[in-house]
């Protein structure tokens, strides 16, 4: 029943895309489409959320796709959960776009693809057979590619789109091969049928690698992340929010679906691979983010970091499952899912915020921003919430999932394998490091963008955004806080998912006294976001009250003091680059071959002193450039064949003939 409803909604979205095409860039097109998508996404979100715990319904089979199989669609707890995430993001993006979309210079390049993109993501999660899954998957990539190219006149965007679509189809082919293995030679493409046949271990492991290659490239794990920081910022901001906050989650869904559901019992080292990948991804992602100046690129890289975090959770769950510690596996999986949910919330919020800044100032470069907290207070407030959440500060939601992941890591000594025992704590250290660095990164992001004094005239005369955008951002911020202080309910919401995948789930949380969070036992560890929040609030109020009552509340405005040497020019402020310098000194040389050159003009010359920073993208240079070079060489070599004379072509034919004749002469 819910499946059918959701399918109808998806169909509506597709229809909306057609409508958008017909309306071209008519005046009412933009509000019409966005309102409609908002309504549909809201409906889907509700249906999905309610059907997480609902009883397993039968698959809906449409006479589409592969003829002799048909297209299977099914909502089980896992897909329902991710559908909820997807459509929550869709809802937020649609409402935000109601305001933001007005500034769109070429709406006819966005409007048709926006609902199509949403439909694609929904269908991926709904699909229950390989063909419809891959079709929707690639359709999702395709529509988002079109959206990335919405500002196609910019050379960088075109490059971004190209890299993106290339990586996307690489991923699709990898998944295709994975499903080919799972389906077996006589083509059991339905998921149900795949579960039926148990693969040999070697094949299953191959499936793992292919799935990592396929879904991982979409999620943005190392070293397949290269497209992400190019493509996500290139799109309009509400699309960036969807791509970063939601589409990556669809990729996570694919991983979970294949590894936990279809591929059969896991090997212990599967988890290890994923854990290591995740740890490396988290650290590298946040370091990249720390060294960027472009607002949206910072956010994109931080997405990579969070994906790494989620992957660690998944890997732990997988290895626990391989060793039959089901409760621990459930905890780990819950942590991963929870973080996926949180990330979709605050990453959307952050992208909305940067979109607001972008429209207000026309600047994406943090070095040209600053002081926006005065000009756009509401945006600043909302983004502050997002930044706090994404830096995993209690009592925000980011901290809860981080805390759960750490609890899971603390369980891992029970694992028998030495490999895991050695590498899990190392990954724990990596995670702790990347969390701390994330906090640093967002201090930098927020401090440079919103605080200080404006670094450019655009920033100086920025205007607060429209009502819709502000509303959505505040709502998301509130959601971040609520999930942070009442995590128990969300976790209980996820219980059916882990139940369906692992056969067990975390103990029910919402019934614990004081609504605190007790993953295993109270004596072991517990956390109560609500109380922490209340404490902080009360003690802060207490302090305010005490001081304002019992002491002076007199305030005077005066010029900046700055040790008595106030440098009043904007340029004298700390820049994003200089803020990152200490950390760059620590990590740069090792991981980025960072080089800093100072050009001092000769004494007396008026030339400015210059300070240059050179960072190598090691992965790009080591992996992708050689590939491109290889293709180039191959094409050069082969291209000679375009310029032969007829006689030479004839000799080719002649050669072919002789070879074949030899074959049949020698044959038997």
């Amino acid at each position: 029943m819910p499946t059918a409803v959701l399918l109808w909604c998806a169909a509506t979205l597709l229809a909306l895309a057609v409508v958008a095409v017909l309306l071209k860039s008519h005046r009412i097109a933009s509000p019409l489409i966005y309102v409609a998508t908002a309504i549909v996404s809201a409906a889907m979100c509700v249906v999905a959320a309610t059907s997480i715990g609902a009883a397993q319904s039968a698959a809906v089979v449409l006479p589409l796709g592969l003829p002799w199989i048909g297209a299977y669609f099914l909502v089980d707890p896992l897909s329902a959960f991710f559908l909820a995430i997807v459509n929550l993001g869709g809802l937020a993006a649609s409402i935000y776009a109601l305001g933001y979309g007005r500034h769109e210079q070429s709406p006819h390049r966005v409007l048709p693809f926006f609902p199509a993109f949403l439909a694609g993501m929904n269908l991926v999660v709904l699909a229950a057979d390989a063909f419809s899954f891959l079709t929707s998957w690639e359709f999702m990539s395709l529509t988002s590619w079109a959206l990335v190219l919405a500002r196609h006149r910019d050379e960088d965007n075109r490059r971004a789109g190209y890299v993106y679509i290339l990586m996307a189809s690489l991923g699709t082919f990898a998944l295709l091969l994975a499903f080919g293995l799972l389906a077996g030679p006589d083509g059991h493409y339905g998921f149900a049928a795949m579960r039926g046949q148990n693969l040999p271990a070697s094949y299953a492991s191959l499936v793992l690698l292919l799935a990592l290659l396929g879904a991982g490239s979409k999620a943005g794990i190392l070293p397949l992340h290269v497209w992400l920081p190019l493509a996500h910022p290139a799109a309009p901001s509400h699309i960036s929010a969807l791509m970063s906050g939601v589409m990556t989650k669809v990729a996570i869904y694919a991983i979970i679906r294949i590894l936990f559901d279809l591929a059969g019992p896991p090997q212990w080292w599967w988890g290890l691979i994923i854990i290591l990948l995740g740890g490396a991804t988290a650290l590298m992602g946040v370091l990249y983010a720390l060294f960027q100046a472009d607002m949206k690129r910072i956010l994109a890289y931080s997405t990579i970091e969070n994906i790494g975090f989620i992957f660690v959770g998944l890997g732990l769950a997988l290895s626990f499952r391989a060793d039959h510690f089901d409760a621990a596996a459930a905890l780990a999986l819950t942590a991963a899912l929870f973080h996926a949910f949180n990330h979709s919330l605050f990453k959307s919020l952050m992208f909305f915020g940067s979109g607001a800044v972008l429209t207000a100032t026309g600047e994406r470069d943090t070095e040209k921003l600053g002081g926006l907290i005065h000009r756009m207070p509401v945006t600043a407030l909302a983004v502050l919430g997002g930044a706090a959440a994404i830096s995993a500060l209690p009592p925000w939601n980011g901290f809860v999932s981080e805390w759960l992941t750490f609890q899971t890591i603390l369980l891992s000594p029970e694992l028998p394998q030495w490999g895991l025992r050695l590498f899990v704590p190392a990954t724990g250290a990596l995670l702790a490091l990347s969390v701390a660095l994330a906090a640093a990164c967002f201090v930098r992001f927020y401090g440079i963008t919103f605080l200080g004094r404006p670094r450019s005239t655009q920033a100086a005369k920025a205007e607060e955004t429209d009502l819709w955008s502000r509303g959505v951002m505040l709502a998301l911020a509130v959601l971040c806080l609520l999930t942070g202080i009442l995590p128990g309910y969300v976790i209980d919401l996820m219980a059916p998912v882990t139940q369906s995948l692992l056969g067990t789930h975390m103990p029910q949380q919402s019934s614990v006294a004081w609504l605190s969070l007790v993953p295993i036992s109270k004596a072991r560890s517990s956390y109560n976001g609500l109380l922490v929040f209340l404490f902080i609030a009360t003690s802060a109020l207490l302090a305010v009250f005490a001081i304002h009552r019992l002491a002076s509340k007199a305030t005077r405005r005066a010029p900046i003091w700055a040790c008595g040497f106030p440098q009043l020019s904007r340029e004298a402020q700390y820049t994003a680059a200089s803020f990152a310098q200490p950390i760059r000194r620590v990590f740069g040389p090792l991981l980025f071959r960072a080089q800093e050159q100072v050009e001092m003009p000769a004494p007396g010359s008026m030339a400015p002193a210059r300070f240059r920073i050179k960072l190598d993208d090691v992965i790009w240079n080591a992996l992708y450039l050689p590939l491109a070079e290889g293709v180039r060489v191959a094409t050069d070599r082969l291209n000679v064949l375009q310029f032969l004379t007829i006689r030479r072509y004839l000799s080719l034919v002649f050669g072919a003939l002789v070879v074949l004749l030899l074959v049949i002469a020698i044959w038997r």
């Binding site: 079709t135 359709f139 190209y162 679509i165 091969l177 080919g180 293709v631 180039r632 094409t635 074949l660």
Partner: protein, 477 residues
């Protein structure tokens, strides 16, 4: 019987008529009309097909090809009506040549239909050669140095192909002759298949080698492909469409027929691996060749080579699934590629050039053409929800379960080709538009029709079509 008669007679008769008719509007109309009638006749074959005669045969296999052939023939004639008008205005063609053009068009259609319907391998050979020579002339019709060069190259290579094919045919006859007796029966398909098991396997092997190379030259398989890109690039665009969409299929059809014959004989060499290898080589080769192309039509010509490679690979792998996929891929490729060539034709006219570097930002300067090109290329690159995705999905996934390495190589080729196509597509469709903003007077109808068919096939294959394809796939073994 009468269906067959019409399919052959209408083109055969309208050719001289068109040669006689003055005025390109009228002749274009007649041309379209004739093609349409042929299409109707072909459709009638679906319902009612006569018993095979010594010369003519209609069975499930070739009906697919005949219908496809006449359909694309019809749409192409519609397209060429609007295209040729423009060529006449720009003076690239003179009315005299136009007569010749239309006449040749019908001759070509006649040749291809005959080749498809023929029940006699000798007749099939003659028909294919007829069609080939007709296209040779068409390719050279612009009389520019380049066109003549292309035509000449095509002509020489084709002649060698012809010779090979003939030698193969003779060998088949000699293999058959001791078993089925002298004379006509030894060349009649329906008789050959019944007795093929008793033929001398060795002779069949040699025959297949020659036939594969001979007809393979026209399919454009990798070592034999040389004529194809230039012929596509230099001829009038409708001819490029027909070459890619139809002639390649007809040649492929011939190969398939003989593959079936071989399959019936237990003693012969396995033809599957041979075809699969050559197909794979073509795919990889064409994929890499796509990158350096500077002429838009030559670009898509190479993509035709790639797709023919995929189809041949699929048939080489054999098995119900792969054969089904191969048929689907072939059909989809004909529709898509001809649609692309229609679009490209108009684009080349509005931009006044075929150079890749000088075609930019179409979605902005000519939104309709631009987006149609985007859809077409996305389809040909094998992305959903369009038809080729389904066939490639089946081919790759079914191969991977059987021959992982081959599948890997195939995927590599597909990816490389994908990269090249998308790279060029982004250049064509996006960025700031290049000069040449002449308004389009295009006939979008054929393009829409083809792309719509491809889209529908990608989402929903009608069961009747499926069962029919499956039957054919089983025929192919």
């Amino acid at each position: 019987m009468n269906g067959i008669a019409f399919v052959l007679a209408i083109p055969a008769l309208s050719a001289p008529l068109l040669a006689a008719l003055p005025g390109y509007r009228l002749s274009a109309l007649v041309n379209t009309l004739a093609s349409f009638l042929t299409l109707l006749a072909a459709l009638s074959l679906l319902g009612w097909r006569g018993a095979p005669t010594p010369y003519f045969l209609v069975d499930d296999l070739n009906v697919v090809f005949i219908v496809l052939n006449t359909l694309v023939g019809f749409t192409t004639s519609v397209f060429s009506a609007s295209y040729i008008g423009h060529e006449l205005e720009t003076g690239r063609l003179t009315p005299a040549y136009l007569r010749f053009y239309h006449a040749m068009y019908q001759v070509m259609m006649f040749g291809m239909n005959l080749a498809l319907i023929a029940n006699n391998i000798g007749l099939m050979w003659v028909a294919i050669e007829l069609a080939t020579l007709a296209t040779v002339v068409m390719v050279g019709i612009y009389r520019t140095h380049e066109a003549l060069e292309a035509a000449w190259k095509y002509f020489i290579l084709a002649s060698v192909g012809i010779a090979f094919a003939l030698f193969g045919t003779i060998l088949v006859y000699m293999a058959a002759q001791p078993v089925v007796g002298e004379g006509l029966p030894g060349m009649t398909w329906t008789i050959l298949v019944t007795r093929a098991a008793h033929f001398d396997p060795g002779l069949l092997n040699a025959a297949f080698v020659f036939l594969f190379l001979g007809y393979g030259t026209k399919v454009g398989l990798a070592p034999l492909h040389a004529w194809l890109p230039d012929a596509h690039a230099e001829g009038p665009t409708p001819i490029s469409a027909v070459l890619s969409g139809l002639l390649l299929n007809v040649a492929l059809y011939a190969i398939l027929r003989f593959k079936m014959l071989m399959a019936l004989n237990p003693g012969v060499i396995a033809t599957g691996p041979l075809m699969a290898t050559v197909g794979l080589i073509s795919v990889l080769f064409a994929a890499f060749m796509l990158y350096r192309r500077r002429d838009i039509k030559r670009l898509f010509a190479y993509s035709s080579i790639e797709h023919m490679g995929i189809v041949v690979f699929a048939f080489g792998m054999g098995g119900a699934l792969a054969n089904f996929a191969g048929l689907l891929q072939m059909t989809m490729h004909s529709l898509t590629k001809s649609a692309i060539f229609f679009t490209v034709g108009h684009i080349a006219q509005v931009k006044g050039t075929q150079r890749v570097s000088e075609i930019r930002g179409l979605t902005e300067s000519h939104p309709m053409l631009g987006w149609l090109l985007v859809v077409g290329v996305i389809a040909i690159a094998g992305m959903p929800p369009l038809g080729i995705f389904m066939s490639e999905f089946l081919i790759v996934s079914s191969t991977f379960a059987r021959e992982p390495l081959l599948a890997g190589a195939l995927v590599l080729g597909l990816l490389v080709a994908f990269g090249a196509l998308l790279l060029r597509l982004q250049g064509f469709a996006f960025g700031s538009p290049s000069e040449g903003r002449a308004p389009v007077r295009a006939s979008y109808l054929p393009i829409f029709a083809h792309l719509a068919l491809v889209l529908i096939a990608g989402v929903y294959l009608p069961p009747t079509l499926v069962t029919w394809f499956q039957h054919v796939a089983r025929m192919l073994g």
